[in-house]
């Protein structure tokens, strides 16, 4: 992902290789021998910007311990578990080879679950980003009460997803939900809709809530991106007599590209891994008909009669591969590397 971020620096083809987080002076910071001031270099005889591995380990050690201990280790444990069989209480029984993967691929639910996942991720990510582009543009205008609007937009972000999901579960309830009541009152619908119980409506409903909770972060990322565009570019466009739409197409969108790339990649990861929303809103439906890969994986391991840790682990590995491929395809498709060189 560092490449994605680095692509935000116009005219820095090196970007990808050395910067996780961009910031303008870093180019100089990392290259002490840029030769401008030999006298200064002499003064720093024991070069402050080069460090031995030992010193590096001292500064980075805690991060490495956490990452290896709590991210890499579980990833390996997941891989190992995916090749094993387990008792219902979770004790390792024996090596199972590819049995878990075979079982997963042969599972009659997999097709539906994968399709659900695709629809869920594609719809939420695309619609969220489109709406967020407009919302961010709006939030960066100056107007009376803007501060309150920004605060309001923060709320779904700050509230725990579990709590928001429970709230929408009640609001969309067939009998007790305020949404049916409101739509009936406005004569938009003639009889109540079973939003969460019917296979036609549950996915669009969950997608709508998914967009609602993903919008704040995305919109804020775009507001930050808009802030980073220097105002003199707009000034120049205005003097040249560009229409607002031309300005948007020719200036805002291209300069917002890095922010859009980051937003889409992060959203793909977040939305794919979104658990509480689907787990709770789909909670009262039996089977796997409305599940995504993530809730499916969880239910296989921790719910129902099977408690099949091995197959769930295989699903987990499958998920990691799917999301890596999806992000890879997206980055390929958007040609970020080329975009970097062009700019």
């Amino acid at each position: 992902m560092n490449q994605v971020i680095a692509s935000g620096q116009p005219g820095k083809g090196l970007g990808a290789s050395r910067t996780l987080a961009p910031g303008l002076p870093k180019g100089e910071a990392a290259a002490p021998g840029s030769g401008a001031a030999p006298a200064r270099r002499k003064r720093r005889r024991n070069d402050h910007s080069a460090a031995s591995i030992g010193v590096a380990l001292l500064w980075l050690g805690p991060v490495l311990i956490l990452i290896f201990g709590v991210v890499i280790y579980p990833a390996i444990a997941l891989l190992i578990a995916s090749f094993g069989t387990f008792s219902i209480t979770g004790l390792y029984r024996s090596f199972a080879g590819f049995t878990n993967y075979v079982n997963l691929l042969a599972s009659p639910d997999l097709g539906q679950v994968m399709w659900n996942t695709f629809v869920w991720v594609a719809a939420v990510v695309i619609l969220t980003n489109l709406i967020a582009l407009g919302l961010a543009q709006f939030l960066s205008k100056e107007f009376f009460g803007r501060r309150f609007v920004r605060w309001a937009v923060i709320i779904p972000w700050a509230a725990a997803l579990v709590m928001t999901s429970q709230l929408f579960r009640l609001m969309f309830d067939y009998y007790h939900g305020i949404i049916n009541q409101m739509l009936l009152g406005l004569h938009i619908i003639a009889k109540p809709i079973d939003w969460l119980g019917s296979s036609t409506f549950i996915m669009p409903t969950m997608i709508a809530v998914g967009i609602f909770v993903t919008l704040p972060f995305t919109a804020y990322l775009f507001v930050a991106g808009l802030n980073a565009i220097p105002s003199d570019v707009y000034e120049a466009a205005r003097i040249d007599g560009a229409t607002p739409w031309q300005t948007y197409r020719a200036i805002t969108l291209p300069l917002l590209r890095p922010a859009i790339l980051i937003a889409v990649v992060l959203n793909m990861i977040y939305v794919f891994n979104s658990f509480p929303l689907i787990y709770i809103m789909n909670g009262s439906n039996p089977g796997y008909g409305n599940d995504t890969m993530i809730t499916y994986m969880y239910k296989v391991a921790f719910q129902g009669a099977t408690h099949d840790v091995g197959m769930s682990a295989a699903t987990g590995i499958f998920n990691v591969i799917v999301i890596l491929i999806a992000v890879g395809i997206y980055l390929r498709f958007t040609n970020w590397r080329q975009g970097d060189q062009e700019s």
Binding site: I5, S17, R18, T19, L20, A21, G23, L24, P25, R44, H48, S49, A50, A51, I53, W59, P62, V63, L66, G69, V70, V71, P74, A75, A77, L78, I80, G90, F143, G145, R147, F148, V149, R150, W151, A152, V153, I155, A160, V162, M163, L167, L170, M171, G177, F212, L221, V223, A224, N227, A228, W245, Q246, A259, F275, P276, I294, M297, Y298, A313
Partner: protein, 296 residues
């Protein structure tokens, strides 16, 4: 629409354009705040529903047909939740886990971000690559592996397992934001300190930290909120009721056997409101932090 006709008739185009702009200038004083009000309503209304449901007896929440405003207003749900010892435990768990993991992230991420922003060393690329990879992994997708690990370590059903997981998975984002800030500080400032005889650590503490405060605030907020709202790992690793964080605990107000929606919403609001206030307070830093750290 209008713009295309305007471009075609090129010579006199500035005149209608200016008139249009002036008309818009007058209108936007009203249009923008009204549109803002619409946005506020969309984002706030669901939580108003939550608030109004918390202010009525649980039996009324499940009335058919439902009403927007409570028929009987009642503070019962709030007083029950506040008196509920389970709620105290969940609140304490959430606080302990969120505060501890935030402290760990900051203590661990600041030196690493400073170091990678300032120094060249062998393996720097590998390190940055590793951080990016952790950003790609969500605890959700690894939850079975996390369960296996803490099961083997005998740490299932402990705060430690939650704190470590929350810290590890939020590290990447904090590092990323902080490094953006550290790189943006001109090196000359540090060099001046070194010439005056300050150590690397001293430079970082006394010179760099104050300058990167907005970044630290952003990183702290992100980590705290992510840990405060974490659900799936806690759901998986914590079995005793008294160790559950709020996100997991509140769900026991609404089960197959009891439907105390108003209590669940009262508890939710007690958890949500302080975080929203915290978030609103740092809102300006937030955009600055994201600009410097992520999108620039």
């Amino acid at each position: 629409m209008t713009s295309s006709t305007l471009t075609r008739v090129s010579p006199p185009r500035t005149v209608p354009l200016q008139r249009k702009v002036r008309g818009w200038k007058a209108a936007r004083r009203w249009v923008l705040p009204l549109a803002g009000l619409a946005v506020i309503i969309i984002f706030v209304i669901p939580y108003i529903v939550m608030l109004l449901d918390a202010f009525r007896p649980s039996s009324e929440v499940l009335a058919t047909p439902p009403t927007f405003f409570p028929k009987t207003w009642s503070l019962q749900a709030f007083s029950q939740v506040i008196a509920d010892p389970s709620f105290h435990n969940w609140l304490a768990s959430s606080l302990i886990v969120a505060v501890s993991s935030t402290i760990i992230v900051i203590l661990v991420a600041i030196p690493a971000a400073y170091f990678t922003a300032r120094f060249k060393f062998k393996g720097r690329m590998a390190f940055l690559g590793l951080v990016v990879v952790t950003q790609m992994f969500a605890p959700t997708s690894l939850v079975v592996g996390i369960y296996r690990e803490f099961y083997d370590l005998g740490l299932i059903n402990t705060y430690t397992s939650l704190i470590l997981t929350d810290a590890a998975f939020n590290l990447a984002f904090a590092l990323w934001i902080l490094q953006g800030f550290f790189s943006a500080i001109p090196k000359e400032i540090e060099e001046a300190a070194w010439i005056d005889g300050a150590s690397h650590l001293g430079t970082m503490m006394r010179i760099m930290l104050p300058l990167t405060l907005p970044g630290i605030v952003t990183a702290v907020t992100f980590t705290f909120i992510a840990a405060w709202n974490e659900y799936v790992v806690a759901l998986t690793l914590i079995q005793s009721d008294n160790l559950k964080p709020l996100t997991v605990g509140i769900n026991s107000y609404v089960t197959q056997y009891q439907q105390n929606w108003s209590q669940m919403f009262a508890a939710s609001l007690i958890a949500i409101v302080p975080v929203v206030i915290l978030f609103a307070l740092i809102e300006k830093h937030l955009i600055g932090g994201m600009t410097a750290g992520a999108v620039k």
